[in-house]
Every structure is written in C-alpha cells, then in structure tokens.
Symmetry: C2
Subunit: 409 residues, 2 copies
C-alpha cells in the first residue's frame, strides 16, 4: 500500500518519456542494442558437461547429469526431493495430478501470471479460478483469497465447494511473480482453513528466499522452470520439488510412462506421461547451477541499479522486493504512477524504438478468450497492475553495466 | 502368412538355447558386453553444432537449429511441413487434437505398440480402441480392422459410431512397428470407408520406405520420435509431419502456448501447450540427420546379417521387411516358432546372462491394467506375436561386427 499512497501525491500530466530512456540507458551502459529482456550466458563448464554427454553417447533421460542436476537443485533450495521434468508446464501439470487434483475441480491461482499456470490447471482437467494480486508481492493476495473464499466457499460432504459453481475447491497455486515471494505464512493459513493443497509455482523464483527459507519449499509441492529466459536454463526444463518420499517416487513414475522396473518386460500400471528431462539438457543445468549464487548476486546488483536510477523519479518507480524477502529479481519491474497508466504502450513503443526489449505484464488470465468465463474474485489490483507495470531487461550479465563476464556469472 | 506356414512344419521340443546365443554372437562379433538394445553414437558434427548453440547463448526453442532440423526432416521424408516437438508422445497428442479428436471419441490403434501411442490418445481425452496386428508387417492389420468395423460400426447423425459403446469412431493410428511399414494403401481404403482420420505413428520408422514413399507421409498427419533409442536422436524429441499448410501453422501455434505474434504483448487465444523442441536438442538432430542415409544402410546391413545367421535355423527365424518396403529395421526381431513360444522368457534370461540386452515385445495394451476395459477387436495375432517375438540389439554401429566407426554412421 505504501507505493499507492506515495503515488497519490503525483497528479500526472503525460509521462515524459526521454527521462525514462535516459534512466534505463544509465543502467544498461554500453550494452549493444537491442537489449533482450532476459538472456542466458554460457561458459566453459556448459561446454565441458555437454561434450561429456556427447562423448559418452548418453543424451537421453536417466543419465548421470539428470541425477546430479536434481541433487544440485535440492541442495540449493533445501528441498528433500527434486524430480527433473521436461519443462515447467509439464512439471505443474504432473504436480497437480500428484496432489490429487481431479477433473472438474477448481484450482485457485492469480490472474496475473504467465499463461502456463492456467494451462497446466486445464491440462489436469480442472478449472482455473482467478484471485486478485497484491502490490505487497505482485503475487496472489492471501487476504483477497480469504475474503473471496468466505463469500463463495461452503463445506459440504467433507470438502469445500464453490457454491456458485457446485465444484470442489481443491488447490491453490501461488506464483512468486518475477521472483518476489508471496507471503507464504499468510497463504498457508488461508489454505489450511479451506483444506486447499498448496502447489507453489516457483518457476520464476529459483534462488529467492523468504524469511530464510527458499521459494519452492513452502507448498505441499512446488515447480521450477529452466526455460531459456530463466535465471538457470536447460534450453527447456522444469523440476518438481517435494518433501514427501512417496510423492517423489510417484512423480518419477508417472513422468516416465509408469513403467514397472524389470530387466526386459515393458509393463506399465497407469496412464502416464513422457515428461522426464533429457541428460543433455540436465548437463547444461548442472553447469548453470554452479553459478546460481553468482547469478542471484548479479541480478540483485542490477535491481539495485534500476532502483537507484528511478528513485525520486517523477511518474514511475522500480518495484522493490517484499519485506523479509531476498528476491532473485528475475524481471525488474517499472511501476507507473496511477495517473501515468495510460502511457504504458507509448513508453513500450519508445523503449523498443530505443533498442530496449521491455514488455508489459502478461495479459491477465481473465482477459484471455479461453479463460474469460472462469470463476474469479474481484480483480481490481490485477487490472491496475496490468495497466501500470513494465518489465525491463534483467539478464544477470547486465549487472556489470554492459561489461560482460560469462565466467563470473 | 508365409512365416506361419513354414513354422507349421517344425513340431517343437524345447528350444535349444546355445545355438541362438552362438548365432547372435556371430552377428555381434567382438562388441564389448553388455550390448544394449539400441544406442546412439555421436561424432564431430554433434559436438560442433551443440557448441555453436552454447557459444551463441541460444539453447531454447525458436532457435536456428530448430528450423534447420525441421527442414532436414521435411526434405528427407518428402513431407511438406515438419514441426519440431519436445517428444513423440507430445507430438502424437498434439496431432490428434489438431485432427479434431474430441474427448470421448474412440481412436483405433494396434494392441501391439509402445504404451505412448495409447497414452497420447488418453491425453487427448479419447478412448483407445485396440485392433489386431498382422504378421505381414507386425503392425495394424487393415483386413482385421475392416472386419471389426463391419461388425461394430454404424453410421448415425453424419458419423460412424461404435454401436457397442455409443461413442464416435474418429481416427486410426497405424504404427510402423520396428520400422516395418503398415500396408497404407489397404489401411487408407478402410479408413476412407469409415471416415477415419489417419494419424500415422512413424515414431519408429524414420527412413523407412513403402513403394517409393517415406513413412510419415501417408496419413493426414504423422509423428516421429527422436528419443535416445531411435535411429536419429535429440535426447528427447519428436516431430509432426503434415502436407496441410493450415494444419502446420496450427501445430506451431498450439505447441507454443498459442501466443499471438506481437512485439511485446502476451496474448494467447486458446488453451495450449509448451511442446516445442529446444534449440540444443535440435542441434543434435541436425548432426544426426546428416548421417540418416548411412545409418539406414548400416541398420539394413545388420538386419541382413541377422537374417543370414538365423536362416535355416530350427525353432526361430528373423523377421524380414514386408513386400514393397525398405525398412529401417529399427529393431531386429527374432520370431520363435509357435511350438517354441513357451521358451521366450528362458531365452531372454539366457541372452541377458550372455550380455545381450534383448527384450520381448511390449506387453499388448489390452493386457495393461489401465487399458484392460477398452474396446477391442479379437487380438489373437497380437497375443501370438507377444508370446513369440524377441528384439535383438540393433544399434547401427553393430553392422560393422563391433568395429565401430562413429564418423561413418
């Protein structure tokens, strides 16, 4: 709420664009244009590990780098189990199935997220149910969730039902937007009250910490993404994190065609998926994970530079991590004052013209045609965010002001 | 039928195992044990292309190797369009959706196939309907399909319905088992008679040819696999082939989150998937595709050596490609005489003990618990095949009798 109250004092004419371009230039320094939103950099270790896969003729799943990558991610996050998956969407789909989400259940998630969150819910046969966000974290608002459930949830036949649709309310998927942790204690309290399973969408928040605990370890299970635009990339890839031994075993089973272990027989015991990560992708991930602390530090340094460049700035400011959090600042976010919201697209156009590949928030889920008729809470904050937020280039190597050092980050 | 009539003359005692091991040894030569069923070999081009991805920091989807890989596969098969997909299961799932398969439709497929074929049908919300196989190709029997449909299909409300279940019969998925082409002309005739869409499962048959035409170009659409055990591998990967421009455009759209093209906005217009192949995997595929003709030649040479080793053999013979076909012989198949069927597991045990990673056919789909209650035709031939067939190690580099030459094959 602090941002909103400060902005109320700025009674806006049109946003002056040139100072924004100048402030961004001051951060990006000598970086050649165009500057992409988020790009990886690879070094000698990536070369070495990938060539090792090739030279040992082992590129497919069940390779040694898959196991090593899982161990590195488990160690870095403190998760008991990490199961490598072909991508983040598949990981969330599988995690929802493993947590007991059934066809026609409703799954609560923020309207402000990448479409994959809602798609994975749909892939499980469930119905996305959109909840408002909070400026406190940019993610799902536990208080709005609580108020909404008080209005629509009834306890019936041993479960919580959406009285407006008659469907079972089964799970909630908090998303740590741009790396900023959702208030998981508050969310957990609401989820417990309504018997909701918490599947944490930590696809953007590898390396983010809340009150000393890593994102991806708060929910009943969690998922990560290693898409090409993430802090650690495997080309395409994902991970399921869980503290439950049986859940981890089941995750491996249903993501590798549910094949029963046998020297030669091909027996499978349920309808299942081909969702495991190939070894060559995991090899990339192993090399990247060695630099995770350096990349988080670089991204936090870059965020600090954006924050400085836009401090005391008329009409906009850069979003700062929530209290108690150390965010990985996956994507830096420029928040326009409310009075300047109408300038968003003009600013995006100017930034692109200037070789800066900025972008708005994802279009909120309830504004997309296929999710228009899904159940939802009031979404005033989500719509306000959508009008006012712009992501700025956030690759870790930009921290050095254009002086890249792939070996360091 | 020729195999069966020959075998009728052999009235069997137990199969003598040592001569089988000796015949396999004669083919495998000095190859170090254990000999896996199918393994890739990589060379300088794989190293070069993969390092190029790393050095240009481009490992994710929409990279230049993805486009190049698609072009190479299209050229090699004669398909008009090739769309790279994260794996074969995902490719078949997407292809079925694109061909209009709806939840609760029935899709006909052989009971003898890898479980992924049936799983992809299930992922589309449809019901697998199993059909018998023929010794002519090891694949789906067009004549059995025709007889079965004559018994169960009725034309009602503009479509063909399974009168026993009341469900719509929508598509048929012929699988070119172990690279041996199904009789696509006969199958096409039956499919046309019952308005069935033909989605060709060519996951095992890249490089196989039937009457001068490549597998993967007969159906309304087709899918390939580049799993680690396939003739060309990308670690994990798949491809949709189609001659239809609109279908290809739709395939790209729904496998990449249905995002509408825009410089910055994130708008999506349908529930969709994250199914595209990462660039680093496609890079491997490009290198492998350069050697496809050499690999097919090597695999055909290996098949010829197995055929020779088991010609005039008491109790078993090696399966020869169908008439009119040039098979890629993905997996060589030892067919036990009917009288020796009971010896299958004893032989598998002996082969494994001898360092030869042979395996039986996949357990037929109707014998798996999750597909036990699916509709089906009589499956006598499928069950007979399952009892009598064993796959033998078939990696292309085995053609040289253990003298590997990665640069050649």
């Amino acid at each position: 709420m602090s941002i909103l109250s400060k902005q109320a004092s700025h009674v806006g004419a049109a946003l002056d664009l040139q100072p924004v371009l100048d402030a961004v230039d001051a951060v990006l320094g000598a970086q050649p244009r165009p500057v992409e939103l988020h790009e990886p950099r690879f070094g000698e270790r990536e070369r070495q590990f990938v060539l090792d896969c090739i030279d040992t003729n082992w590129v497919s799943s069940a390779g040694q780098y898959v196991t090593r990558f899982e161990q590195m991610v488990a160690e870095a996050t403190g998760a008991r189990h990490a199961v490598a998956i072909v991508n983040g969407t598949a990981a969330l789909h599988a995690a929802l199935l493993l947590e007991g989400v059934q066809p026609n259940d409703e799954v609560l998630l923020p309207a402000i997220t990448f479409v994959a969150t809602a798609n994975a819910v749909s892939h499980a046969g469930a119905i996305p149910h959109f909840v408002d966000s909070t400026w406190d974290s940019l993610g799902l608002d536990p208080m709005a969730l609580d108020e909404h459930l008080a209005a629509i949830a009834v306890h019936r036949n041993g479960g919580w039902i959406n009285k407006e649709t008659g469907r079972r309310l089964r799970a909630v998927v908090p998303v740590h937007i741009f790396g900023h942790p959702v208030d998981m204690a508050a969310l957990g309290t609401v989820a417990a009250k309504y018997d909701l399973v918490v599947v944490e969408d930590a696809t953007e928040s590898l390396g983010s910490i809340l009150n000393g605990q890593s994102c991806g370890t708060f929910g009943h299970s969690a998922v990560l993404s290693f898409n090409g635009n993430k802090i650690v990339t495997t080309g395409g890839g994902g991970m399921i994190l869980t503290s439950d031994d049986d859940h981890a075993r089941r995750a491996r089973h249903v993501t590798s065609t549910a094949k029963k272990s046998h020297a030669w027989a091909f027996d499978h015991d349920e309808v299942a998926y081909n969702y495991r990560l190939p070894n060559i992708n995991a090899a990339l991930g192993c090399a990247q994970m060695e630099r995770l602390p350096a990349m988080v530090a670089a991204k936090r340094e870059l965020a600090e530079r954006y924050l400085q460049a836009f401090s005391q700035f008329p009409g906009a400011r850069v979003y700062r991590e929530p209290k108690g959090a150390q965010s990985n600042y996956w994507l830096n976010t420029l928040v326009l004052d409310r009075e300047c919201a109408g300038e968003r697209d003009r600013l995006l156009s100017a930034l692109h013209g200037h070789g800066v590949k900025a972008r708005p928030l994802w279009t909120p889920m309830h504004m997309l045609p296929m999710y228009r008729d899904c159940p939802r809470s009031p979404l005033d904050v989500a719509e306000d965010m959508y009008r006012r937020c712009i992501n700025l280039p956030s690759s870790p190597f930009l921290a050095a002001g254009g002086k890249e050092n792939a070996n360091k980050i």
